[in-house]
Amino acid sequence: MAAPDISPAGAPVCVCCTEPAVVYQWTTDRHLCTTHFIADIEARVHTTIAESRQIRAGDRIAVAFSGGKDSTALLVILSRLLPVWTDVSLVAITVDEGIAGYRQDTIRVAKTLTKKLGVEHRIVSFKDLIGDDLDTILAGRESQACTVCGILRKKALMDAAKEAGATKIATGHNLDDEAQSVLMNTLRGDLPRLVRDAGKESGGCFLPRIKPLSGIYEKEIASYLFVQDLFLVLPECPYTRYALRAEVRSMLSTLEFRYPGTMQHLIESKKKIERYCAGAPVMDALRHCRECGDPCSGEICQVCRLRHSLGK
């Protein structure tokens, strides 16, 4: 890294102006002030959306909005970019899993922000979906927390988005999340999941999912919110510690610090594998669950399988 110019306040100076920098972008070796950092993030998200045509005229985007930092940044950025597109609307959907001491705070924050941004907000719960909250479902099976929660959350979100008339679901997955998923799927030897493209149209079976923040590092998202007084210290999900992801996150974060660009390289590798696999029979053919009719890869979908295991 070239030595940055230091302002009298002891902060490096922005590469675009003379203001003190608030962030350092380690992959491009740039220091940016608040104004240029906000503009940079919003422009990069817009580029991600435009390059893969994630949003088109007439779309109604269901934003998976937990009230946590990633989905907060996503909702703020999409609501600011909204005038760029023709006839596009947003609806925020919050899934209340029923995690004591965790979700109540983020739901409160979610309600406040949607009101401030003037975005329609819908809240759905696991209790409505399956009759119990996550804490009850997980009693004695905490190690499966993320798997069970993921299955139910996806279903709750998909149902709510369809009911809201959405054409796409936008999630707040960031660059760190994407790199972690690549490594986790590789560690599990799960090629179909590695190359699955949830953003693709599927003949009306699934609503396509888009990830506008997939080019933004998690630290950048936290910084983006902090400089706008939108960053809140919220409790961490109590089940996170049971997940393989927690270990992968820590390992990758260390590698990224020591070898800048590691996460981007992982994602680029995944894209190359996707291209090599294009047209190859990697994925099982799409079928429909014999019990609920939802699209799935086996005879019974994961939600119905979970219902059985819970005796529902």
Partner: protein
């Protein structure tokens, strides 16, 4: 004096005990006090000559990519020089939301 001085020695501890909230080291070399609020909200007061945010984090064993840092309430980059009477807050980027 380099960043190694963040590791409090016996002399530091004695002085910090006498002045728990705000400790000013009076020496012909420097006059610095820095209050550091850690991720778990605990507070440390250290005296040192200026170093960077990144150097402080590494001494504390924190990966700079897993936190954001504010100085006197304003966000600063890893290369900002800190010291004097700065209040440094280290904020963990919470996961799983």
């Amino acid at each position: 004096m380099g960043i190694g001085a963040f590791r409090a020695g016996a002399g530091y501890r004695t002085r910090a005990l006498l002045y728990p909230d705000i400790y000013v080291r009076r020496s012909p070399i420097f006059y610095t006090v820095m209050k550091i609020i850690l991720q778990d909200q605990s507070t440390r007061v250290v005296g040192d000559s200026p170093g960077t945010v990144e150097e402080l984090l590494l001494v504390l064993g924190i990966n700079p990519l897993e936190v954001i840092v504010s100085r006197n309430g304003a966000l600063v980059s890893e290369h900002a020089v800190i010291g004097d009477t700065d209040e440094i807050r280290i904020i963990r980027i919470a996961h799983g939301g």
